[in-house]
Each structure stands twice: as structure tokens, then as C-alpha cells.
């Protein structure tokens, strides 16, 4: 086991897969000599050359559309979108094309492609470098959506995503890149898509979350534990497909549920989680399902007090947990 930051784990995941499989290529803006604006692809250009690590024109639809064509013709492309906020010009290629190609060709064609993009706030990135847009992709059959929260998962999920036969959107919380360190197993391991992970066991409140919020929830759960409340923190990891069985098991076990996400709540991942709990756990609930998420404003503002007010933190989560504990 080695200690790695979240971004180092992602870089190693790409590097190891590129060493293992000559079909894997990386393409995106500044991914070449510079190694990406966050340095996620640092060293890949030097090791694999410009044929496999491709600086593209500044054109997101092209990055994804070319990756689709390359995947159809036998490669395993990893397309990097510099910030998730700038994925929108590529949404037609993702939703109209990548998501539908297997279905519309009756299994004749498939798109084994990964689209990586950093997302999330708390980094003074303001409206257009802070968004959490995962929900819009989770709505689309044919796509898979993954958000790792730890270095171990980041590497293992990324490797699984690269080997997956279908398009996977791999969203990396940019605040985690250098903030989060952890043990990463040696050797070739993958973390299967579609499986949630119980990060902390408990029987009083089930907390469903993902991404950076996982770490905040763990801190809040720690604090409640000191007062004798045992929270079960479930890191969803895979947002599409959701691990329905894991959600149902933890919700039934605890009888109280708090759903926590950074994105605003309307028609979001946690709308779906709450619906699953409502459908499958009704008789087991001791309290109404509670959700905690971002406010219904169009983006994360720049000025520190505004950003602070937008973002969830351990204190806000703890307060929601205590309220639920007292119900």
C-alpha cells in the first residue's frame, strides 16, 4: 500500500491502463506537454508520445465526438473536459450520440469511452468553475456516471471505467485533488461500477452521499458518535447505475435517512435516492427522509462569504444529523 493524493491516483490509473492496453489514448485541452491544467495527465505525454496523448483544439464537442468515433473504431479513449462546467457544448455528443449508439444500432456498435471532468466548488472558482452537473447525465439511460471520493476508489473506478464497454462519465471533485490522501493498493485492482461503499457502519441514521461531501459526512458522523449516535455513511460512488440494494439495506437498517450532496436538490441524484427509500423502505422508516444540498441559485458565487454560504460543510451536516437524531 502506498499513500497517494486523489489526483495522483487518477494519474496512475490512466498510466497503468495505458501501459497495459495500447488502445487507451488521452485527448483534451492542454493534456499534452503541460499535463493538464490540474496536472492529471502529467508525464503521460513524455511516456506515451503525442500519438496517444493528444492536445486537441479548444472544442469540447470535438473532444467527445472524436473520442466516440475513435472508440467505435477500436480505441479506448479517455476524453478530458477541462472543467465540468465546459462540458455543455459536448452534451449533444454525449446524450444524442454516445448514450444511444449501442441501443440505436441494436448492439451493432458501442462506445467504450471515458469522459473525465473535474467538478465541484469550494475552490474560489465562481459560477463557471464550481458546478456539480452530474444529475443531468444521471437521467440518461446508456450513460454511466461515477464520482470517486478517495484515492483508492479514484484509481480502481477509473480503471474499471476504462475497461467498461460503454460510455462512462468520470467526475472528479477538484477540491479532493490535493486535499484528499489515502492508501492505494499495489498492483492491478479495479473497483466495480455500480457498487456503493459503506464508509462507516452505524444503526441510527443512514447517510447517503458522494464526492467531497463524503468526507464532510464522515467528520459529522464522528462528532455524533461522541454523543452516542451511530451514523452509517454510504458513499454512492456510482451515480448511474445506483446501488439500489445498498441504499435499501442501509435505510432499512437505520430507519432514518439523510441524503447529502453538494449540488442543488431539485431533480437531483438525491431526489432519486429519496424516491428509492420511499418506494422500498416505507415500513422501516422512523422519520421523514431528509435531504441536504446546495441552494437553488444558478451557481457558486466568487466572493468568500457567498461561496461559504453556498457550500455545505461539516457543521451544516452535523446540525441536520442532530435534528434527525432527535426526531
Amino acid at each position: 500500500m502506498a499513500i497517494r493524493t486523489y489526483i495522483e491516483a487518477i494519474r496512475e490509473g490512466m498510466r497503468d491502463e495505458m501501459r497495459r492496453d495500447p488502445r487507451v489514448i488521452v485527448l483534451g485541452e492542454d493534456v499534452g506537454v503541460k499535463g493538464g491544467v490540474f496536472k492529471a495527465t502529467d508525464g503521460l505525454h513524455a511516456e506515451f508520445g503525442e500519438m496517444r496523448v493528444i492536445d486537441t483544439p479548444l472544442a469540447e464537442s470535438a473532444i467527445v465526438g472524436v473520442a466516440i468515433g475513435a472508440a467505435i473504431n477500436g480505441l479506448r479513449p479517455i476524453a478530458e473536459i477541462q472543467f465540468q462546467d465546459f462540458i455543455l457544448p459536448a452534451v449533444d455528443q454525449i446524450i444524442s450520440e454516445a448514450a444511444k449508439i449501442r441501443y440505436r444500432s441494436n448492439n451493432g456498435f458501442s462506445v467504450p469511452m471515458v469522459v473525465r471532468a473535474p467538478f465541484g466548488g469550494g475552490v474560489h472558482g465562481a459560477l463557471y468553475h464550481s458546478q456539480s452537473l452530474e444529475a443531468m447525465f444521471c437521467h440518461i439511460p446508456g450513460l454511466k456516471v461515477v464520482v470517486p471520493s478517495t484515492p483508492q476508489d479514484a484509481k480502481g473506478l477509473l480503471r474499471a471505467a476504462i475497461r467498461d464497454p460503454d460510455p462512462v462519465l468520470f467526475f472528479e471533485h477538484k477540491r479532493c485533488y490535493r486535499l484528499i490522501r489515502g492508501e492505494v493498493p499495489d498492483g492491478e485492482y479495479t473497483v466495480p461500477l455500480g457498487c456503493a461503499e459503506v464508509r462507516r457502519e452505524g444503526r441510527d441514521i443512514a447517510v447517503f452521499t458522494y464526492g467531497l461531501m463524503t468526507h464532510f459526512c464522515m467528520e459529522a458522523a464522528e462528532s455524533l458518535a461522541r454523543d452516542g449516535f451511530a451514523c452509517e455513511v454510504v458513499d454512492l460512488r456510482s451515480l448511474r447505475p445506483l446501488d439500489r440494494a445498498a441504499i435499501v439495506a442501509s435505510a432499512r437498517k437505520c430507519g432514518k435517512v439523510l441524503c447529502v450532496q453538494e449540488a442543488n436538490l431539485a431533480v437531483s441524484v438525491m431526489s432519486e435516492v429519496a424516491a428509492i427509500v420511499a418506494e422500498d423502505c416505507f415500513e422501516y422508516l422512523d422519520a421523514p427522509v431528509r435531504r441536504l444540498g446546495g441552494p437553488e441559485v444558478p451557481g457558486v458565487p466568487f466572493s468568500p462569504p457567498l461561496e461559504e454560504a453556498y457550500m455545505l460543510n461539516t457543521t451544516k451536516i452535523e446540525a441536520a444529523l442532530r435534528e434527525l437524531a432527535a426526531y
Binding site: S61, G65, N73, P89, D92, Y103, R104, G108, D166
Partner: protein, 334 residues
């Protein structure tokens, strides 16, 4: 770099067998296309979109490609192109009638959404111009593997207003990919004329902005189309990058079976285009050259009719998809 307008005298320098093959392909596509309209008017097929008036360009271009080796990202008018590459009237009638055995999509997509794995014909959706990027990506993959396959893509002139057209050609030019992009310019995007899509005289003028050759070809002439494509393909295979070809064609039908072209196209313009019908024109050329007799032409048409009759019967007797199949093939690891 300037836009090229190759001079051609139709049929002059190709051997008779090749010319006859071209003619047969054109007639076969026309007969099939006309049959689709009949089925539509009989209420047996809800939707038809036509290649009539585009056959010469498509047949000429397709004959310069290597079927099953090169990568093809076509658009909805490319019926004749797909037939030359190896798809059959039966394949297309199965799609028209939304049968389970439709090799494009198993009856999931509207007709004319081509896709056929064995021939590297990449499945297309309905949004226009997205396929230009897929062709660029396919070209990139061939290059990464060191193969000399080329990628072909096509679209209408109106669709060149889309961002993906620009992004695709720019990408292909920057990376000098073996891509040939064919614009089948029939003058209208449904009802909107070229003058409201672009402010250049010709679509091919846009090639200059990408630093690639732009070629204008008489798309009513299969031989000229064949030559233009042969040259572009050779350049691409040699690693000399992409080409934009504009084929000037005619749309001999309304946009689709759901369109009525009377509000935006004068009857004189329609009559003029019909007088220039590429199938009739090529027939006259071949007759003048002594390659084809009137009797031969009738026999070609009769053969095509028999093939299409058989294909229609097979398609009509082929089962519809089962409702349970709705859920299949969303993911590969289902």
C-alpha cells in the same frame, strides 16, 4: 490553396464495364427509392427521405472507397452510397418497415438512419452534422494503429452551419487526418436556401479556412464524382490530410414524405431539376458512347425491379420486433 473545380467530360476515360456498373448502381438506388415512396403513399411506411437526384454523386464517391475497410459516417440521403458499399434493398426495406431484422437498428430508428457494422458504416442518429466528428475519430484511430484506412463522412449544405462541421474539419486539418467530408449540396435545407446558411458563394470555399483542399464537383456526373473522390482518398491514404468535396446535386423530391415544397420552390425550378435528372442524363451519355442500348437500359431497370419486388416481399413477411426486446442493449454488460 484555392478551391479546385476539376474539368470533366462525362464518361470519357473509364472503361465500359465500370461505367455500366455505375449506371446499374444508380438505377438500383432509384428504383428502390421510388418503391419506398409507393409504400409510403399506400400507407404502409410512415416516413421516407430520398436520395433522388443525389445518386450520381453517391455512386461515384462510393466506388472510390474500400468497403469494409474504410470508415463511413453517412447521412440520411446516402441510400445509393450504402447500396454500392454492400447493403441491400432488403436491408433498407426492413428498416423502412421497422422490422426486427433491420440490420441498421432492429427497427428502433426511423428509416434512413444507416449503420452496419460489417461494412464499417457507423450508426447515425438524427441530429445533423454530429457524424463529422465520429468520422474524424475513426480516422484518428486508424492512424494510431498505422493503418491506411480513410474515413468518409457526408452531410447536406445546410448542416454545414452546425458547430460540429466546423469542429470536425478543423480537428481533422490540425491533425492531418485521413478524412474526406462530402457536402451534398442540393440548394435547400428543408425550405431554407444556401444564401441563408452561408455568405460564401460555394460551400467548398470554407475549406480554405481550415487549410485543406476544397473541391467542387458536378454531383450529377458519377464519373466526375468518382475522380474527385479517388484523388481525395489517395491523398488521405498517403497521409496528406483531409479534403472537403462539395458535390452540386439536386433534390428531386420534397425534403421528406412529410414535406410539401410548393411554398418555397417554384414549379419551374422543380421542372428544371427534373430535366437534369442524373440517372437520365447518365443514361444518355452511355447511349451516346455506345456503351448502353435502350434495350440494355430497360433490362437494367427490370432486373432492379425484380430484386426490389423480392426484397419487399421478404421485408413484409419479416416479423416486427417483440415488445420485450424494448429493454435490450442499453448497456453491454446487462
Amino acid at each position: 490553396m484555392a478551391v479546385m473545380r476539376p474539368e470533366t467530360s462525362p464518361g470519357s476515360d473509364l472503361d465500359a464495364e465500370l461505367l455500366l456498373t455505375m449506371y446499374r448502381h444508380m438505377v438500383r438506388a432509384r428504383v428502390l427509392d421510388e418503391r419506398m415512396w409507393v409504400l409510403n403513399r399506400q400507407g404502409r411506411a410512415p416516413f421516407v427521405i430520398s436520395c433522388q437526384g443525389h445518386e450520381a454523386a453517391q455512386v461515384g464517391m462510393a466506388m472510390a472507397l474500400r468497403p469494409g475497410y474504410d470508415w463511413i459516417a453517412p447521412y440520411y440521403r446516402d441510400l445509393a452510397l450504402t447500396l454500392v458499399l454492400g447493403m441491400t434493398p432488403r436491408d433498407h426495406l426492413l428498416a423502412l418497415l421497422a422490422r426486427a431484422a433491420d440490420p441498421n437498428s432492429g427497427g428502433r430508428q426511423m428509416p434512413a438512419h444507416y449503420g452496419y457494422r460489417p461494412l464499417n458504416i457507423i450508426t447515425g442518429g438524427s441530429p445533423v452534422a454530429t457524424q463529422v466528428l465520429h468520422a474524424a475519430g475513426a480516422a484518428l484511430a486508424s492512424r494510431v494503429r498505422g493503418e491506411d484506412a480513410v474515413a468518409y463522412t457526408s452531410l447536406g449544405e445546410g448542416s454545414t452551419s452546425e458547430g460540429d462541421f466546423h469542429e470536425g474539419l478543423n480537428f481533422a486539418a490540425v491533425h492531418q487526418l485521413p478524412l474526406i467530408c462530402v457536402v451534398e449540396n442540393n440548394g435547400f435545407a428543408i425550405s431554407v436556401p444556401w444564401s441563408k446558411q452561408g455568405h460564401t458563394k460555394d460551400v467548398a470555399d470554407r475549406a480554405l479556412g481550415y487549410g485543406m483542399p476544397g473541391v467542387i464537383v458536378d454531383g450529377l456526373d458519377p464519373v466526375a464524382s468518382y475522380h474527385a473522390m479517388t484523388e481525395a482518398v489517395a491523398r488521405a491514404r498517403r497521409g496528406e490530410g483531409p479534403t472537403l468535396i462539395e458535390a452540386k446535386v439536386a433534390r428531386l423530391t420534397p425534403h421528406s414524405s412529410d414535406d410539401d415544397d410548393r411554398p418555397y420552390k417554384t414549379r419551374e425550378a422543380v421542372a428544371e431539376e427534373k430535366a437534369q435528372d442524373c440517372v437520365l442524363r447518365f443514361r444518355r451519355v452511355l447511349e451516346q458512347r455506345g456503351v448502353l442500348s435502350p434495350g440494355d437500359a430497360e433490362e437494367v431497370r427490370a432486373q432492379c425491379m425484380r430484386e426490389v419486388d423480392r426484397a419487399q416481399e421478404e421485408a413484409e413477411n419479416s416479423p416486427l420486433p417483440s415488445p420485450e426486446s424494448l429493454h435490450l442493449h442499453v448497456y453491454g454488460d446487462q
